[in-house]
Point group: C2
Chain length 463, copies 2
């Protein structure tokens, strides 16, 4: 059954909806009424009254229209009755934000089981409990209730994020919004009483607005099901996961956090390998790869070419390429010939190609074109030290845009520096070229493109 | 002999100084005349005329006053004669920005030797040739000639930066200025014909404005001398080095960039170990450690405590601590007792201490105080997910400020997120607490404090 009622509901009941300042119920009503969401929104509250001029219904069953999704923030003990009403009303899905379930011990576990059993009988899918819920950047269906003065929400884009941790997920939303990364759908799924990682991966695999699926997980509920779902999804779009609890002490912390069994890390490594999931080492790695995979195609191989106007940055990038097990491309004789012809004598026409500090855009153009055309190159990293007096940044943006249109080969940029560099990095990104501020981060990104290429070739050759 | 004439010259001759737009000579005159530098500045140019209303002298010897430092941007072939004039004038140091020396081949090498020989006879110290020169943020002695619309210059601070690569160094200056990191002195020393890494480390070790010495190097000119200089310096202040050319292909790139012999990487590892140099893995690592060491004391040991309001971020930090070979502190029974008393039932009083999502500042205060007091804890990382409705960010800044004043133990913060988080991160940093945007980066920083503690104890026990 689809999770469309969760992410694309046309009508929502906020159970616990309220106008009372400082309540989650108010925050949710504000998000849904004033945040750009176009569906119908009903407040349900046993206290009655009105919310921002809208009538409040005492029970979900009192709502005169159809309700697709219930967002529930009432105390845990009341939730079973709310769900019975939802069942009677024909609600299709519920996001249970309320805490006080299995994460609190035996009694909570029983309550959670009761809720799931009511939902299952009625065919209601549940996100949560004990979660932040969802943020759909495209239709502004948004249950992330943190105050808007401290919680940024990203612009629409193509990266989906599944987070087992609500608080970390909120910080990631906030960070996406700061750096201008676009998101398709975000979901904090809490205790995963019903909908789990596998369901979400399956749904997002089919979601046309999602090009990349990112995950923060501490464990998975059903290993074999997850592996199968991920394996099917990975044929369509890349999945990048940060699995925390890698170390013994980290695994212990996982148990006291989400109660997941972190399990032997090698087992996760093997499962990810089998699923075609790209495993991120760090949050930075996750973000770097997600951005690259949302904008650029997978690389046909692992041979990287680097063009730079600063030798030092080129050496750092070269070290990173080799340290990650990628290869520095051996440029073809034809490419070397072109570079020798077009670059000044003290430039380096070996890879990394150093167009040197006084390079104008024309010199970059010649060098980038040569390596983009080279059949011995699978992906290209262009480093711009935009501090150089010789380098016209707006024209460099145009040059990269043209290269990106002309060639299908993955193209990535790195622009270390300050404001001027960051400004032109943003312009390149608006044109579909992912940009990074350090050479190492750029190479982590390229690694994602190379890894996804390998995954696609592997999955294509199997069932 | 001191390099004071380089970094603190009271009078400077710009040889090649000019008003002609687009020239280095003009950029240098603008920097020194209008950038805040308080010493005397003389333009020297064979063409005569005036520069911004100041008379231009045809030769250095024509300047009627004393000249401490010559900054030279005339063509390479003219430089020997300029240096002869400098010798006659009693100039103490010269920054030779001009390229066209040993980096270009045999002829250039001879020219460079001639220049050095003139300088040595006259007791003139030389920075360069083929370099950007220096930036002293405290007195604005600034020869970094990139246009000011694309080259940021950092505010005064306590981090010194030595860069073998000019272009990368410029990008680093630019980045420091973007993120608000303070710098003491920067130097791009080019071909190191005279002043080399060892001289610079020696000088900066004695510089009262420098608390941390950072280096980007591709090779060192005189290994044993460098090791000795670093070893003496490391007793006084931390040295962090990014040595590029770690991998075979990176080493090859180094040879075509600075002509340095990158050498076997293990040899550098051993030399750094012996010198007490902290080796950075990446630029990000270098920056993370430099900031921490500029603000916080070295850690007395490697036992880390983590306090967080988000379990996921705590798990990620715990993984990072263990992956880097640091230890998660086992909290003392007394600390555990306090935490059990002051934290709610679902919080975690094991390390990582999870004060959970609804924690107000008071709860953080109790937890941070408890681990700061714990004799079984050597350094503390506090993670704030400032998106939480319960957490008052300005009061959290005050709390951290108070802890930082009350205890001498290293204290570091991590504030993942967007604008609101970044704003309060800056406020914490102004109060001397280094802040990072991901848990992994924060742990890299703590590793720097731990490593420098180990280095100090080791050097104290040796000659």
């Amino acid at each position: 059954m689809s999770l469309d009622a969760v992410f694309n509901a046309k009508s929502i009941a906020v159970v616990g909806g309220s106008e009372k300042p400082g309540t989650l119920g108010r925050a949710l009503m504000e998000n849904l009424l004033f945040g750009g969401y176009k569906g119908r929104v009903y407040a349900v509250n046993i206290r009655g009254d009105t919310v921002f001029g809208h009538p409040v219904f005492r029970r979900v069953t009192d709502i005169p229209d159809e309700v697709e999704l219930a967002v529930i923030v009432v105390p845990a003990r009341v939730v079973p009755n709310v769900l019975r009403d939802c069942a009677a009303k024909g609600v299709k899905a519920a996001i249970i934000i309320s805490a006080g379930f299995s994460e609190t011990g035996e009694e909570g576990r029983k309550l959670e089981q009761e809720v799931v059993s009511i939902a299952r009988k009625a065919g209601i899918r549940i996100i949560g409990p004990n979660c932040l819920g969802v943020y759909n950047a495209h239709n502004r269906l948004d249950t992330i209730f943190n105050p808007s003065d401290r919680q940024g929400k990203p612009k629409p884009g193509s990266i989906a994020f599944i987070s087992q941790s609500g608080a970390l997920g909120a910080a990631i939303l906030d960070w996406f919004s700061l750096v201008g990364l676009g998101m398709s759908k975000f979901v904090s799924y809490g205790n995963a009483a019903d909908v789990d990682e596998a369901d979400l991966v399956e749904y997002l695999a089919k979601d046309p607005q999602t090009r990349v699926i990112c995950m923060y997980i501490e464990g998975v509920r059903n290993g074999p099901r997850f592996v199968e779902a991920a394996r099917r999804a990975a044929r369509k779009k890349p999945i990048i996961a940060l699995k925390a609890g890698r170390t013994p002490r980290g695994a212990a912390a996982v148990t006291s956090h989400t109660g997941s069994l972190a399990g032997e890390d090698r087992i996760y490594d093997a499962a990810f390998q089998r699923s075609g999931i790209i495993r991120a080492r760090t949050l930075e790695d996750l973000f770097a790869k997600a951005k690259a995979l949302s904008l650029q195609p997978p690389a046909p191989g692992d041979r990287i070419a680097i063009v730079t106007n600063g030798g030092g940055a080129g050496v750092i990038a070269t070290d990173a390429v080799e340290a990650l097990g990628l290869k520095m491309a051996d440029l073809s004789p034809e490419t070397q010939r072109i570079l020798q012809q077009k670059l000044p004598p003290h430039a380096s026409w070996r890879n990394p190609v150093d167009v040197i500090g006084d390079a104008p855009v024309e010199r970059y153009d010649a060098a980038v074109r040569a390596v983009m055309q080279d059949p011995q190159v699978d992906a290209v990293l262009v480093i711009f030290l935009f501090q150089s007096p010789a380098l016209d940044a707006p024209r460099a943006v145009e040059m990269m845009d043209a290269m990106n249109r002309e060639f299908t080969k993955p193209l990535i940029a790195c622009t270390p520096g300050g404001e001027h560099a960051a400004k032109h990095a943003r312009l390149m990104e608006e044109r579909g070229i992912p940009v990074y501020s350090t050479p190492e981060e750029a190479v982590l990104a390229i690694e994602g493109l190379v890894r996804y290429g390998i995954i696609l070739r592997k999955l294509a050759g199997s069932q």
